[in-house]
């Protein structure tokens, strides 16, 4: 796979103000470089997705930008304000919704919102009316006085997000906003996130789900082991992976190599072959191309044991971007955003 590095060409539109700017951001925990030279530029008004598996360093990046973690080295700026030097100013520009509910479990929804309003300098009356507005807006008014223990996962996330919006910060960090939510609640959350941006905010979100990044983000950075593997628009990212993935088992494994050649000829893309099982994995530009593949295989008298067409998962993105997960030979300290794959 050689097309991945071109993917990284995408930059924020020229001339736009940057909501987030980082240069060679590093965070080390003991021996591990949890965040390893991350460079991000997020333009004002954008939804920027940071995509990666568990433990990739997504949350660590967010926590550094939100002044919760010290920056070991590198530069981080929020609207041009240095995070390490002026944390108090940065805190006035951001709203953070964490991976775990960052609201007080001992208070009701209404009390939580009033408390956070008061803490941020609203008067008693302002805090009350803002809390009421937000509860209405997030469809929580019926649960306003219920203890949080009775809240569903989706309600908690909504309250959490509402608590981040009290002072309408221009930049909102969302750490895995829909992890653990059912599909319907997830869709509602997406709608809410989109409306935030429509209202002028900038959103930086982390996610483990490719479809979420695809649905929401204007641009995506894929990170793994603390490094940027690729950066681009969802379309750029997808075109490297294919819209869907074809997984095919050849009836007799000896025909695997021949089948791979046939499929390559039909699709014009490189295929991944696991010879011992005769299993072939290949990105499909469109799901109906699977038919062409089957026709060609029958013409070549290769019988197929099983066949599956699925949307590309994060695994396949990594497979496509890096060849095989994220290999160790990428530890090239001279490249920062641009990663060469070998």
């Amino acid at each position: 796979m050689t097309q991945t590095q071109e993917l990284i060409s995408s930059r924020p539109p020229a001339g736009s103000r940057l909501a987030v700017h980082t240069e060679d951001l590093v965070k080390t925990f003991g021996e591990t470089r949890a965040v390893d030279n991350i460079c991000l530029d997020v333009a004002e008004g954008e939804i920027f997705g940071v995509l990666g598996p568990n433990g990739a360093g997504k949350t660590t990046v967010l926590r550094m930008l939100a002044t919760l973690l010290d920056i070991d080295s590198g530069v981080a700026q929020i609207f041009g304000v240095d995070v390490a030097r002026s944390p108090h100013v940065v805190r006035q520009l951001i709203g953070l919704t964490g991976q775990y509910a960052s609201v007080d479990e001992g208070l009701t929804a209404l009390e939580n919102l009033r408390l956070f309003g008061r803490l941020q300098g609203l008067s008693r009356a302002q805090a009350r009316s803002t809390a009421d507005d937000l509860l209405t807006q997030f469809a929580l008014e019926e649960a306003a006085n219920k203890p949080l223990a009775k809240f569903s996962g989706g309600m908690r996330r909504r309250l959490d997000l509402a608590a981040s919006l009290i002072t309408r910060p221009p930049l909102i960090f969302l750490d895995e906003p829909t992890t653990g939510l059912d599909p319907r609640t997830r869709g509602q959350m997406w709608t809410t996130i989109r409306s935030l941006v429509a209202d002028g905010a900038t959103v930086l979100l982390t996610t483990q789900y490719l479809d979420e990044a695809d649905q929401l983000a204007d641009r995506i950075a894929v990170i793994d082991h603390g490094r940027t593997v690729a950066e681009g628009t969802p379309d750029e990212l997808k075109s490297s992976v294919g819209v869907s993935t074809l997984q095919l088992d050849v009836a007799s494994a000896v025909q695997g190599a021949e089948a791979a050649r046939v499929i390559e000829a039909v699709l014009g893309t490189e295929v991944h072959l696991a010879p011992e099982q005769g299993r072939i994995t290949v990105p499909l530009p469109a799901a109906d191309k699977a038919g062409d593949v089957l026709v060609a295989l029958r013409a070549a008298s290769i019988s197929v044991a099983s066949l599956q067409v699925s949307k590309p998962s994060l695994d396949e993105v990594f497979l496509a971007l890096t060849g095989s997960g994220v290999p160790d030979e990428q530890n090239d300290p001279t490249s920062s955003t641009v990663q060469e794959t070998h």
Partner: protein
């Protein structure tokens, strides 16, 4: 879900231009009181948090008076004027031990992430609950006097002397709580805070003049007992409650409290704002 009520966040102007460089003192105080309100709400919903400050004064006053009264002062009634101020100091120290444990538990919750990411004074999340704890010291001190009076203690200082003594114990409890708040920020778990706090609390209360007169102690121990802030607090409380006099010891007690705050408050706040 509709979000139509949200007016657009500033797009045209530079968002950084609307910020302030520091937390003002009045804003910091107001944030502290907001967080004290939160702690009071939590206490109100979990009344078992007040169990220690209600049961301990009743239990310890009765227990110590009946066990040691005869041996130390000849009779229970004669021991009470010596004992009550000592028990007061002990219960308020135990009460402030809980400050560290609660802070540690609180810091492990997600809501503390939000506190840290808000533009508020770094002291507020620690000082807020401590302000709410003033209520705990007040309950402990009042109940100790109440138990003593039930058992026959007649404070010579009268209403004003006793009120002064309670006020002093509340102030002292709040000051010494900073030691335990600091422990709460450095320890890994609430259980370890409890353990370490016990090891500090017991020497501080028992190696003082809280339960016996100093001249019965070996001279090397007297040296420590005389500088122990708890001794100064106990003596000051005795002056106030038994004689109604504001002696030099009140000054020393307040000075000792100020020293403890000056050392441990910055340590606790610095540690809190750096903790992961």
């Amino acid at each position: 879900m509709t979000t139509s009520t949200l007016a657009p966040a500033a797009v045209a102007t530079d968002p950084a231009a609307r910020t302030t460089p520091h937390v003002t003192l009045s804003a910091g105080l107001s944030q502290t009181f907001s967080l004290a309100w939160r702690a009071l709400k939590t206490m109100q919903r979990n009344p078992e948090q007040l169990f220690d400050v209600i049961v301990q004064p009743l239990l310890f006053t009765a227990m110590f008076a009946y066990i040691f009264g005869g041996a130390i002062s000849g009779s229970v009634a004669d021991y009470l004027p010596l004992l009550i101020p000592g028990i007061l100091a002990q219960t308020s120290l135990t009460a402030c031990m809980a400050t560290g444990v609660k802070l540690r538990e609180d810091m492990d919750k997600g809501v503390f992430d939000r506190f840290k990411s808000l533009p508020i004074a770094r002291t507020a999340p620690i000082a807020g609950p401590m302000v709410a704890d003033l209520l705990r010291y007040f309950i402990a001190a009042t109940l100790t006097f109440f138990t003593g009076i039930l058992m026959g203690y007649r404070p010579g200082g009268g209403v004003w002397g006793v009120s002064g003594a309670i006020l002093l114990v509340v102030v002292a409890g709040w000051s010494l709580a900073w030691i335990f708040a600091w422990l709460g920020t450095i320890a890994r778990s609430a259980t370890s805070v409890q353990g370490i706090s016990m090891m500090i609390m017991f020497p501080l209360t028992f190696l003082s003049n809280a339960f016996v007169t100093v001249d019965t102690l070996p001279s090397w121990l007297q040296t420590f007992v005389k500088v122990n802030p708890v001794s100064h607090i106990v003596t000051a409380v005795r002056d106030l409650a038994n004689n109604g006099t504001v002696g030099a010891e009140v000054g020393w007690a307040l000075f000792a409290c100020a020293v403890v705050i000056a050392i441990f408050a910055p340590l606790a706040v610095r540690r809190y704002s750096r903790s992961v």
